[in-house]
Homo-oligomer: 229 residues x 2
């Protein structure tokens, strides 16, 4: 199970909370006192759809997937270190609408939800930044829903590859860090079709592919595929 510890200092922490600089010293101390650091191993569940949120989660180190569970899972997004994992559930309805699991060894800071909310109420600049973040996360889902509901397989897989390139790895070449099944869940299709279309892209020299290592060779074609859907 996950390893638990306490932070020595939040201010000097290399994985410092985003927007922490907007808070006053006493508030930072208050975060520090109630903060718990938890380490998750690859595959472990960080929060579970249907349960209630009691803590704010900050992803200090690692990478997680946020997904909706069901007969088939749907991965909504990946979250990299330096981001809050869930703010929506903190401020809105308290029940998690999704699950979050570690895609690699991951370090999460947790602080009591009420403490963070009180603190946000007293520091409207901080709250304002959190609100911005929540808003943009909503905007992202709007884009995702329109992509998923309207594009066909090729367009959706192109979307996923461009997402990995532009938002997650910032490089034309990367180890995608997930199985074909997960790539399929990110693209809302069956695993078999994800495999098939990856092979197709490889055959057409749009990407090169060895195991989980992907290199994007013709990004303009991917963009076109994403555009035409």
């Amino acid at each position: 199970m996950a390893k638990v510890s306490k932070p020595e200092s939040c201010l000097s922490c290399p994985y410092k909370w985003k927007y922490l600089n907007l808070l006053e010293d006493k508030d930072i101390n208050s975060i520090q006192r109630s903060c718990t650091i938890i380490n998750f191993k690859k595959g472990e569940t960080i929060c579970k759809q249907g349960t209630d949120a009691t803590h704010a989660l900050y992803l200090a180190k690692g990478m997680v997937k946020l997904y909706i569970e069901g007969k088939k899972n749907l991965i909504l997004k990946l979250i990299k270190s330096g981001e809050y994992i869930d703010l929506q559930t903190l401020f809105g309805d308290k029940t998690y609408k999704y699950s979050v699991a570690a895609m690699e060894d991951t370090m999460v800071c947790m602080i009591n939800s009420e403490i963070l909310q009180d603190l946000a109420k007293q520091n409207s600049d901080y709250l304002f930044e959190l609100t911005k973040t929540i808003s943009d996360s909503g905007n992202y889902v709007y884009k995702k829903i329109s992509d998923i509901s309207r594009k066909q397989l090729r367009g959706r897989l192109a979307d996923s590859l461009l997402y990995l390139r532009n938002e997650i790895f910032n490089s034309d070449e990367f180890d995608m860090g997930m199985t074909r099944k997960e790539l399929a869940e990110l693209s809302s299709m069956s695993m078999e079709n994800a495999v098939r279309i990856l092979s197709e892209f490889k055959k057409d020299k749009i990407i090169s592919l060895e195991g989980k290592r992907i290199k994007i060779l013709q990004i303009d074609i991917l963009k076109k595929l994403s555009d035409i859907g």
Copy 2:
């Protein structure tokens, strides 16, 4: 085109802004001074996907649809009077990710975006409520995306009917106030299939149907259809 006017008083307005009571008098005056009331006729576009948001929009009277445009439209939700139309675009990225159009004659209050933001920063209780609203709107889209991406036609149409019943009209019998095409866009399917499944539901005595007037006869079956997808 839309008719424009100024409010006489925001405090005594029967369509008073939500959470206005959390603001101080001087702030309410400031809203009142910069507020413009616009009346839209059925079918008119209130905001257009791709343009930039300059105003906060509050739906004082009427009903609007919020939808993503493309080769086929996708209606994400309907908004009733007494709700803010878009807060996400106000606090996050300024470009509208969707369009909004009036489904009936509608009255909208607009105030300058910067004024509302300044005001929210100075009244963290107000900002807090807005943040809650934005969060829940995000949570709604999470549900919507999982419904759309996983359920089949019958499940999705059942979802739409339950949505209209539970969230919009609060009654087993209602005039759905939209065309078959729009119902299809709400359910992410072709218009022909929406028609077909409506007829099927009628034949199976799950609903009664005369024109746009729908009466839900067996809600438990609808729920079941929604559950099994």
